[in-house]
Amino acid sequence: MDIRNNTLLLPKNLDKTNITGLLQEITLQNLEVVKQIDAGELVTIDSAGVAFLDKLMEIFAAHSPQIVNLKAEIKQSYQTFSSLEVPIQIKAKQENIFVKVGDNFFAWLESSKQAFYLLADVFYWSFVGVFNKKGQRKGSVTQQGLLIGADALPIILLLSFILGLILALQSAAQLRQFGANIFVADLMAISMVTEMGPILTAIILAGRSGSAIASEIATMKVTEEIDALTMMAINPIRYVVVPKFHAITLVIPLLVTASTLIGIFGGLIIAVTYLDLSTVVFFNRVFEVLTLRDVLIGLGKSYFFAWVIVIIGSYYGFNVQGGAEGVGKVTTQSVVASIFWVIILDALSSIIFYF
């Protein structure tokens, strides 16, 4: 590029292939006084070329240079692609760490409050729903019962059986050294009934049904189905959440019982084949050590696990933001939160009942 009498002469082409070199040339020449930019030779320009012209105007802003001899077509491109008239978005001021911590704390308080309201709503409408089926679709509890209960049964049985085998096998190796073979029955009975049965069932339900609940409600929210229910004067919690709540309340004791029995059965196989115990001796010992209190604690806490899964799934579903990406995000969050709260509740129950 030449410069004559404080006038910068532009080349024939200004496009993305040559402007970087031209810009370097100008910087190296350290040009200070350009009062005019002559575009007489300029024939083709693209949006990168226009950005280059804008940059020239910035570099030589001290002399407010004019662009002269612009051809009509070039002028049109320049006016279309020039960034000079486009308002610059001011970047949000970086917040300091205390503001961020404070904001997160208040956001957490707000979401806890919302979750609590949802919890109250779900319990209220679940109680009302037992006596008044209005506001629910016919057969929805059965349908949900099959989805949450029957469909989850095979995987719960399989994993509980494997867990029973592992627990018995690992403890049998230790017990055998002390001739305490019979205590494998104690271990299987107590651990499966009070701990492993309920928690394993809850974790499988959190992964399976919790995610399904969150993604179903979130999708309904995104596709305005929840708004459509509201517009039909139908309470979405009553229509969507309550059948799931009733269904999980009905199926959780059955699933936990099935998980516990099959886990103990897994232990029995190890006891008979590895520790040479008889089936009768094993079961006599199981019934001897088990108390009604243990059974009630195991079943009782499983209700809380189930309710937490439904509430958390629903909470995340109703609070989805954005489209498909948001649905995926709340689904993951709901599974993580469900498993977290199931384990916290389990720890609390252990402290309450066994400390």
């Binding site: 209005k134 506001g135 679709r137 596709t223 305005e224 189905e225 708004d227 229910l229 039909m232 004067a233």
Partner: protein, 248 residues
Amino acid sequence: MKKEAIISVKNMVAKYGDETVLSGVTVDIFPQEITVILGGSGCGKTTFIKNVLRLYQPYSGSVKIFGNEVTEMDEIEFDEVLSRIGMLFQNGALLNSISVADNVSIPLEQHTNLTRDIIEKMIRVKLDLVNLGKAENLYPSELSGGMKKRAALARAIALDPDILVCDEPSAGLDPLTSAALDDLILKLKKLLKMTIIIVTHELASIHRIADRIIFLDQGKVLFTGTLKEAQKTKIPEVETFFRVGKFG
């Protein structure tokens, strides 16, 4: 004699977080008319509708529907109001897990004590009215875009509401289907004496069906009046729209 408004909105302000979307909107919607709400993308049309119907809570202002202030109503009172309003959502918002007939039956089952056979007759009539007589056992995923809109319309009119709200009914439809939907809306207005509120951009559709126009721009009402008045107005944005079908 001056007509009494069926929906009266005064100084409504709506916000998303700190951003004000509607600032002091005041409009009246009159019975048995088709009112079209117009405006460029992001001007607050859908927000206006959703705030009037309390799907979002307005920040401030007054909304009267059927002469009653609804912003301070409790849920039970407002449900009574909602049961007299049908809404056609932009994407239909049919419940995907149940059939078309079951979708239409929801308001009938929830808000009436009609017997199953009466409900079934009503479902058939409503689906036939929207030319979906043969689709009652299909699921929403098996319907085309136009069929979904019509099925959603059948659900919206299941209870013969006094007010029908349609959020961009023609969006994504071909001109023929769109024209058929307009004819259907006109038919509903005539047959069921409905008040119809429509959010749309389609100039052809507006010419066919609109009685009254509300033109929103940047969260404010730029113009309200009849279609004829809208065509004659000198307000630049409205004039540009009616001249070239684009928002200026």
